[in-house]
Symmetry: C2
Subunit: 621 residues, 2 copies
C-alpha cells in the first residue's frame, strides 16, 4: 500500500487538485497563416504541397525529388520512370512532356458594393481579397479533374471574393451578412479534398465568398487534467501536433494530408487518420464543436465526456462538407505523447496472406497505431522510389532462388508489404510487437525491418506529389477509397481491378492501366481499402472524361461488391451520383430536408451531396 | 513460421473462405413476445420488473425479496428498514403503509373507424388492442412522477390504441396510414425510460397509437466472420445476449435495464451499458439502422465498417426519443464471448481516494469491462441489503480499531466501495488485474474480494425494485445522471448534494434527504455520475411536485458545475426545460427545424425535447 504522503507527492494523481488550463489566457496560433504573402508563397498553387518540393525528371530521364523538407529530398530514383513504363505498358518520352500551362484564364469576379461595405464592418481591408489566382486556388481541391483543369484548361466558376476572418465571432457575423445580401459562403480549410467539394456550382449566379479559415488557427486552451483542447477550425494538422507535443500530448489524428488539412476540414469530411486503431477517427476525437450557421452560432455551454442530449446538431456537421455551416472550432480529446514509437515491416508471399494477417490482428486490445498492407504493384512502386537500385526489390530478386525465399515463398511479382507503426507505453509496444510476431508467423510473413517500415510512412507525404509529376508525362492518375466487410474485401479488390481492366480493354485504350490497392485501416468488422488508378493517355482528346468514366465504373463495382460509397473522402460532387444506389429514397430525402430546413436561403450553396432529381419518364422520352 | 498447411488448418483465419451467416434462412426470435397474455402477465404493470419479484416487509418489520429470479430472492434483510430510517431521519411505520391503489381511472380511448379499417389492411385483429390497462402501461415509463401517478393518482392522457406489428415493413406502412389519417405514433420498446419520454402530451387531440415493438424481436442473421448481426428493434437486451452467447458472441451492451429494454430503445435514448469501457456505448456498436419515417423507410444497401457518406440520417436517430421515426432494426458489431469473467471489489477510505484510483485507471488499453465507485451512502445501502447482519458493514465496524483498519484508514462512515468486472482473454484479464492492483495500492485501496464485487453487480437488477417498495412507506425516490470532466467531478458531487440538502432545509421538509452518488463510467476526459435522491414525505400533500422541484434544483446545480444535461437517460420531458441552458439558441432551433423538416405532420408527436418558446417580455409583464 502506498501511504498518504506518497499519493500526495504526485499531484497529477488527484485531478481535482491540478485543474488548470494552459495557456490560461493567451492562445497559441499554430501553423501558417494564409493571406500572408510569405506563407502563401510556400505553397504550390497549381498542384499538391509545398512549392519547393516535388518530383522532376532530368535530361537523362532520371526522376528525382526536390527540396529539403522530406527524407527523399535531393534523391534521384533510377528505376522510377522505367518502372512506370513497364506498369503502364508505354514509353514515357522526355521530349514530349505535357508541361503545365498554369495559370489558366480565371473568370472575373462578380461584385456587390453593398455586400463589400457590410463585410468591411466586420473585416479589415486586408482581410478581403479578389486576386485572380487566390480566387482560383479557393475554387478547387485535388481531384484529378481539378488539377488537370487548372493546368491545362480552366475552371468555369471560382469564388468571387476570398475573406480571411480572424475570430469565430466574425464568421458568425459573416453568415448574417451573406444571408442579408443573398451571397453564397464556402468554407475553405486546407483545400486538400479530392471530392470536388470546393468546386463552385457553374450555375451559381450569386456572389460566392470563400471563407478562408487559415487565420482561425489558434489552440485556445489545453486542459492537461481532462486531456482536452479547444482548437480553432483553421488550425493545420501538423502544426496542431507540433504544438500539442510541446505540452506532452497528441491528438493522434494524422490523415495523409496532415501537412495542409485542417481540423474544420476533418470534421466536415469525416476524416480518418493513419493511427485510428489507437486514437480513433475524427468523430471519436471531437467532443464538441462550434459552428456558424444560418440560424446563428451553434454551440453549447460545456461538453461532457459523452452526452445524450436529444437530436444532436453536432452529429449533422460530421460529413456535411460545407453545406450546413462553417465549423469555427472544436473541443478535442488528447492523449499523452507515446513513450515509444517504432516502425516495422513484414513481407508476405501474397496479398491474401497479408490480409489474413490483418484479420488475425483485428482483436488486439492494444493494436499497433497503424498497419497498412500494400499490394504487389504498390510495393513495387515503393521499391521503384528507392534512391538506389540496390533496394529491397533488387535484394528480393537476388534471393529469389535462395533458401530464405523458398522458405517464405516470396516471389517479387507476388509479394506484398505490410508497414507497421507501434506506439504507446513500453509495455503496450512490447505487447503489440509480440502479437504481430505471432500473427505474421502464421501467414508466412518475413520481417523486413524497421527501416522499410519507416520509409513506407515517410513515402506517404512525398508520394502525394507523384500524381502532378505523372500528369506532365501524359499520365492521369488518382486514388479512391472505400470500406468493406472482411469477408467481401478480397473479392472486392479483385473484382474492382478486373472491372477497370475490362473497361479499359473494351474502350481499346492505349497501354494498360495501373490498378493497385492498399488496406489502410482495420476495424473489427472490416477494412478501409484505397485503390489507385493510372494510365497513359497520350492519344486521348479528353483523358479526364475517360478517367472519370473508369472511376465511375470502379465505384459502381465497389458498391456491387458490398463496399461503401466512401470511407473518409466524403461525397462532394464526385460521388453524389452514387448516393441513391446506397441509400433508400427516404434517406436521401431526409438529408436533403435537413439541409433545406437549417439553411433555407442556401447560404452554404456549395452544392455538395446534391442528388439530381430523376427526370420523370415523359421528360426523358 | 507456420507452414501453409497449419494456416489452412484453421479455416476461421481466412475470412474470405468462411464467409457465412447463421442462421442463413430462419431468423431467431429472442425474448418475450408481448401482446401474448402469458408473457404479459410475467411483467409487473404498475411498477418495475417481473410480477413475481419485488421487495416486501413482513409483519415484524423485516424486509425481504420475493421470487426465484435473482440471487437475493427468498432472502430477508434485517438491517434494511432500520438503515432507511436512519438515513431519512424518520420512522417507517408498518401500520401506515401507503399501499398502491392501482389501477387508476384510465381515460377512454379516442376512436377513428376509418383509421382502424386501414390499420386492419396491415395488421390482424389480434395485433390491435384497446384494453385500458394495456393502453395505460404504454403511456408511461419509470420516472417517479409516472409510477406515483398510476398508483395513487391517474394519467390524464394515454395512448388510444396499442398495435403489435410483427414485420418491419408493417411499421413502414403504419406510418403512411397514420400520416394519412392524421394520427400520432409513439414507438414503445421496453417502457423503461425515466425521462417521461412515453408520457402522452395532455393536449394531443389526435388519436395516439402506441407501436409496441415486442414482436419485432428477431435476430435476422449473425455474421461470425465480420462479427455483425442484424437485429430487430424490439429485441430485449438479456434475450439478445443469451442468443448471441449460443453462437459464441456478445454485444457487450448491458444497461441496468437489460432485462426489459430493447435495441430500438437504446438507440432512441443513446444508451450506455455498464461494460462500455470494453465494448463502447450504443453509438459505437450500431453500424447501421433501419427507420420507418414520415418520408418512408430509411435504410441503406449495406453498411461499411465506417463511412463518410454525407449528412448521416442515422446520426440524427441516436437520442431522437421517438420524435423522428420508429427504429425497426439495426446492424450491430459483435465481440467474441470473453474467455474469462471475474468480479472484484476494493474498499477505499474516502470517495476522493476511490475517485483518484479511477482517474489513474483511465489510460488502460485493456481496462476492466466495468468499474463502479459507490459513495458511502450507496455502500451502506448495499450492506443493508445483506441477508444477514454479519456482512461487511458489521465486519468493518468490528475492525474499526484493528490494525488493518488503522493501516487502511477505513472508517465505516467514510469508506466507499469500488466494484469491478474483468472480462476478456486470459492475458487481458491478467493485465487488467495487474493494473488495478497497482493503482488501488496508490490510493489506500483494501481488496474486498470477488464475492463483494459480484454481489454489487447482482444488486443492480434487484435494487431497481427498491423505489416502488419505498413508495409504500411514503418515501419518494429517483435517480438522475450526468457526465462531467474529471477536474470538476468531485466538486460537482459535493455541490449537488449540498444544494439538495440546502433546498430541503429551506423548504423545512420533514426528516432529511438521502442523497447518494456513484460513478458508473469512466472516459479519458471525465466520468458518468449517478445521483440518488430519496425522502420521507408523510406530511406532504404533493410529494412528487416537491421531488421534481428538488431534482430541478439539482440539475441546475449539475449544469452550473459543468455537468451535462444527461449522460444516457436522455431528455424526454423531464429535462427539456434545461436544453436552453446548455445549448445556444441556434442549436435548439437547429434540432427543432430538423424535426419539422422530416416529420412535417408531426406523426411522431410524442413531444420529447420540446423547448417552450420563451414568452416575449411584454407578455410576461
Amino acid at each position: 500500500m502506498m501511504h498518504m504522503d506518497e499519493a500526495e507527492a504526485d499531484p497529477q494523481s488527484r485531478p481535482e487538485r491540478t485543474a488548470r488550463r494552459v495557456p490560461d489566457r493567451d492562445s497559441t496560433p499554430v501553423g501558417p497563416t494564409r493571406g500572408d504573402a510569405s506563407v502563401d508563397s510556400a505553397l504550390r498553387r497549381n498542384g499538391w504541397g509545398f512549392a519547393d518540393s516535388g518530383f522532376y525528371a532530368n535530361a537523362e530521364g532520371v526522376a528525382g525529388f526536390n527540396g529539403g523538407r522530406y527524407p527523399l529530398g535531393g534523391s534521384t530514383f533510377p528505376e522510377l520512370l522505367a518502372w512506370m513504363e513497364g506498369a503502364l505498358g508505354t514509353r514515357l518520352d522526355q521530349r514530349e512532356r505535357h508541361e503545365f500551362a498554369y495559370p489558366p484564364r480565371v473568370p472575373p469576379p462578380l461584385t456587390d458594393p453593398s455586400l463589400i461595405a457590410d463585410l468591411k464592418t466586420i473585416l479589415a481591408e486586408e482581410q478581403l481579397c479578389t486576386d485572380s489566382l487566390v480566387r482560383l486556388r479557393h475554387g478547387h481541391g485535388h481531384a484529378l479533374e481539378e488539377i488537370y483543369a487548372i493546368n491545362y484548361v480552366q475552371l468555369s466558376r471560382v469564388p468571387d471574393l476570398v475573406v480571411y476572418p480572424s475570430t469565430e465571432q466574425a464568421v458568425v457575423e459573416l453568415v448574417a451578412v451573406a444571408r442579408r445580401h443573398n451571397a453564397c459562403l464556402v468554407p475553405y480549410g486546407g483545400g486538400t479534398n479530392v471530392s470536388k467539394s470546393l468546386a463552385c456550382p457553374p450555375a451559381e449566379r450569386r456572389l460566392i465568398v470563400s471563407v478562408d479559415m487559415s487565420r482561425l488557427n489558434k489552440i485556445l486552451w489545453i486542459d492537461p487534467v481532462n486531456r482536452t483542447a479547444s482548437i480553432q477550425a483553421g488550425a493545420v494538422g501538423c502544426a496542431i501536433q507540433d504544438e500539442l507535443k510541446r505540452h506532452g500530448f497528441t491528438l493522434g489524428h494524422e490523415p495523409d494530408s496532415s501537412e495542409f488539412s485542417t481540423l474544420g476540414g476533418w470534421i466536415a469530411t469525416l476524416a480518418s487518420g493513419m493511427k485510428r486503431s489507437r486514437y480513433g477517427n475524427i468523430e471519436d476525437l471531437v467532443l464538441d464543436m462550434r459552428v456558424a450557421t444560418s440560424l446563428g452560432a451553434v454551440s453549447r455551454q460545456s461538453a461532457g465526456p459523452r452526452e445524450s442530449a436529444g437530436i444532436d446538431v453536432r452529429q449533422c456537421m460530421f460529413g456535411s462538407e460545407g453545406t450546413l455551416g462553417i465549423i469555427t472550432g472544436a473541443v478535442v480529446r488528447l492523449f499523452p505523447t507515446p513513450t515509444i514509437q517504432r516502425h516495422d515491416s513484414i513481407v508476405f508471399p501474397t496479398f491474401e496472406d497479408g490480409f489474413a494477417f490483418l484479420y488475425a490482428m483485428r482483436d488486439e486490445a492494444s493494436p499497433p497505431a497503424s498497419m497498412r498492407l500494400l499490394d504487389n504493384a504498390q510495393f513495387q512502386l515503393g521499391l521503384a522510389l528507392r534512391p538506389v537500385a540496390s533496394g529491397l526489390l533488387h535484394r528480393l530478386r537476388r534471393i529469389r532462388n535462395s533458401a530464405i525465399a523458398r522458405l517464405h515463398h516470396i516471389d517479387p511479382e507476388q509479394g506484398v508489404l505490410c508497414t507497421l507503426l507501434y506506439e504507446g507505453t513500453r509495455q503496450e509496444v512490447a505487447l503489440q510487437r509480440k502479437s504481430v510476431r505471432k500473427a505474421s508467423r502464421r501467414f508466412r510473413g518475413l520481417h523486413a525491418g524497421a527501416a522499410n517500415g519507416r520509409r513506407g510512412y515517410e513515402l506517404t507525404y512525398t508520394i502525394a506529389y507523384l500524381r502532378d509529376f505523372a500528369l506532365t508525362f501524359h499520365i492521369v492518375a488518382d486514388s479512391f477509397e472505400t470500406s468493406v466487410s472482411w469477408s467481401r474485401a478480397l473479392a472486392m479488390c479483385t473484382e474492382v481491378k478486373a472491372r477497370i481492366r475490362a473497361e479499359f480493354e473494351r474502350l481499346a485504350l492505349p497501354g494498360r492501366p495501373l490498378v493497385a490497392c492498399r488496406i489502410t485501416q482495420i476495424y473489427g468488422t472490416g477494412v478501409c481499402v484505397y485503390f489507385y488508378l493510372a494510365f497513359h493517355h497520350a492519344t486521348l482528346a479528353d483523358p479526364v472524361a475517360v478517367f472519370s468514366h473508369l472511376e465511375s465504373c470502379a465505384r459502381a463495382e465497389v458498391i456491387r461488391c458490398g463496399g461503401s460509397i466512401s470511407h473518409h473522402h466524403g461525397i462532394g460532387k464526385i460521388r453524389a451520383e452514387f448516393l441513391p444506389s446506397v441509400l433508400s429514397p427516404a434517406a436521401v430525402e431526409f438529408a436533403s430536408r435537413v439541409k433545406q430546413a437549417v439553411d433555407p436561403d442556401n447560404v452554404f450553396g456549395i452544392d455538395n451531396q446534391r442528388v439530381a432529381v430523376p427526370q420523370a419518364p415523359e421528360t426523358l422520352g
